[in-house]
Symmetry: C2
Subunit: 188 residues, 2 copies
């Protein structure tokens, strides 16, 4: 029972990376199995529901990873404005450093599958809710009124996702940095 989790995990990790980078439809099962080293027989043993199941679990893995990154980033300062700005700047730096190695966490899968797979759509929704609530949590801890904090969490998450998308398309991190710059105005 040692190689078991190993192979399954490798499949999810590879799929997770490829789905983020290339999107759902552009990523073939052949590519996933080849790059992960696992054969197709194993894929359908570990993921009987095929590509959809693999994508759902990939989204979940990405969600956990990114959520942790957000929480860690936000803990770098007690001041929420500074903390959020630091986090966004970190993302921008990481984007510059490894733009061609990593895509936008959830967006591609969300856009491609929300209309064709309800379970996948729900997974992406959960991801965004988790991201939002990390920001909201930070604001509540800093004394923001709950409803206001929830609204701001949604808006901050939207801003970051949008800036990520545009930075990705433009090939430069400027939008992310400008969003960071406007955080103080937003949080008054």
């Amino acid at each position: 029972m040692s190689g078991k989790e190993n192979s399954r995990e490798r499949l999810i990790k590879t799929a997770s990376r490829l789905f983020q980078l290339q999107g759902y439809h552009a990523t073939g099962l052949n590519q996933i199995t080849k790059e992960s080293g696992a054969p197709k027989g194993s894929l359908y043993y570990h993921f009987p529901d095929g590509k959809e199941q693999l994508a759902i679990e990939s989204v979940q893995l990405t969600t956990a990873f990114v959520s942790k990154q957000i929480e860690e980033g936000l803990n770098k300062s007690t001041d929420p404005i500074e903390a959020i700005q630091l986090f966004i700047k970190d993302m921008a730096e990481r984007f510059e450093r490894e733009s061609c190695t990593v895509g936008i966490p959830i967006a591609a899968v969300a856009l491609e599958t929300s209309l064709i797979s309800e379970p996948l759509r729900a997974s992406c929704q959960s991801a965004y809710q988790k991201f939002q609530s990390a920001f909201t949590e930070k604001l509540i801890q800093s004394g923001y009124e709950e409803k206001h904090a929830m609204e701001l969490g949604i808006v901050i998450n939207s801003m970051i996702e949008g800036a990520f998308l545009i930075s990705f398309t433009m090939g430069k991190s400027e939008p992310l940095l400008l969003v960071a710059k406007q955080i103080p105005s937003l949080l008054k």
Copy 2:
């Protein structure tokens, strides 16, 4: 020379709609030809470079359409805050009304193709630049200093794109509406 432009135009319009709704890779040329009524022979006659060329021209059509919508929306009020809020609320309403008929204008194609086709990436970049400059223009006309207006244009565009993405995934327009609500804070 009457049927000529007609067939070409039908192909682009159909492709434009399908690419926005389903994304690049999920939209097959067979589906485009079938839904547009044009045969495959015509497709490669009008678009010798195939799917990529068709997608580029589709993005350009969408860009023109959306830009016009933004400009018209922003003209509904002289006050930039009110104008931008009105535009976003219009988008939110339209989203609620026809969410399953229309996807997010450029995002899906941008995410799916930016890393695999430089010309397509450039088309999507042009689209976003055009959207941004519409907001920037409005702010400059309202007396904002140029550099500040440019930065805000980028941020506003990012916010709207991100909110669109999340609204799409969530299946509700709340993120868009909350972004609209925060516009005054952002523009001071």
